[in-house]
Symmetry: C2
Subunit: 228 residues, 2 copies
């Protein structure tokens, strides 16, 4: 008894529905204000404030003051991975929300996961990259091949630039909706950024979902085909 680190603390932090909703919303990657987070939690600002203070004290959240606003983000990528992995686990056990709601299908199709693409499109992209030989799946990990490096340079991704960062280039991240892996890491981030830059897709206002334009949709599906 009393062995090891205290998982009860962080479990309790995530265990409150209001806090869980806020954390899930912040998995969208963008910084949100206390008032916005109160909205997603379905509570008043006062209550949200105490929740946010607790989450920050627990090391899950970081805070940035800007004028009279306070922007909250997840403390780092480790928190995002923890949340997504818990989502994957929960989805596997059938711990789903009671009302699927109208936004569900859009979320399942394409959504943002911290800073990269997830959902059906995210899984398709990784599948296609593996099928074309751009990425190799070794064990549980992912590795970019030489072919992949040149392929990506063609569509405007500066791989050598990405390599210079300390962050791993390829990471696989388990998708809660698809129950399959999609591409995370700095490469995953760069790819999503390029889609947004090219105007193929854009982030929606209050949700984690990503909306592809008709043209962007065509380009994406052409660039990442699924073999028959």
């Amino acid at each position: 008894m009393k062995e090891g680190p205290d998982i009860a603390q962080i479990g309790a932090l995530i265990g409150d529905p209001a806090r869980a909703n806020m954390l899930a919303a912040l998995t969208g990657g963008r910084a949100l204000t206390a008032t916005e987070l109160a909205g997603v939690g379905g509570i008043t600002v006062q209550t949200a404030s105490t929740h946010l203070a607790k989450l920050e004290a627990g090391g899950l959240l970081a805070q940035r003051k800007q004028g009279r606003h306070r922007y909250f983000t997840l403390a780092d990528e480790a928190v995002a991975r923890l949340i997504e992995s818990m989502m994957g686990f929960a989805a596997g056990r059938g711990h789903l929300r009671h009302q699927p709601g109208p936004k569900e299908p859009a979320l399942r199709k394409a959504r943002i996961c911290y800073d990269h693409l997830a959902g059906d499109y995210g899984v398709r992209m990784l599948d296609s990259l593996i099928a074309s030989g751009a990425i190799e799946a070794v064990g549980e990990g992912l590795a970019l091949t030489e072919k992949g490096e040149s392929d990506l340079e063609c569509i405007g991704i500066d791989v050598s630039d990405l390599r210079s960062s300390r962050r791993p280039l390829c990471r696989s991240c388990l998708d809660w909706s698809e129950r399959r892996a999609h591409l995370a890491g700095s490469l995953g981030k760069a790819l999503l950024s390029s889609f947004l830059d090219k105007g193929w897709a854009r982030r929606t206002a209050e949700s984690r979902s990503i909306r592809f334009s008709p043209e962007g949709d065509r380009q994406f599906l052409k660039l990442f085909p699924v073999d028959p």
Copy 2:
């Protein structure tokens, strides 16, 4: 709001100290009775019973009746991974227990993580396997090389037998005490089993720690050297 799977439920399940202690104890891999779990949780059997019922309803635990005993185990390896990953996260944030206690050093040296070796010795073993070229680290994943396969056959591990199982051969598992990876998967399990079979080490009664005999210690350190 109301997006995705419900992480609050499992967060709340893990969020209670008594339940967290029971789950951590069960990460030791062996099945425990309700009374034993009440002990590790520091609560009476009645209370433990309700906790265990909740954990089982939540899909975290499985139960097996045997005579008048009820043996509880983690539902599957996914639960074990979730718990260990939360431990790693918690350790990284400094969410440590208040009293380190006398058993801490033993736990840090060598302990069981579901069914494989973790702690200092677990990390050393993987490091050594990689240094000798038996295992390759590719991206985040691990892959057994041909050399590794023959090396392992020499010490009595039937790799082809392990391959026939559906479970992945090599997995990397993040260690909460060392903050580095150790070897999981069916190969990790087989290696630990062989140590126990050879009498190099044995599991302790009430703890997750593993005790090496003086002779076993020498053999282990010889078999898995760290290069200078």
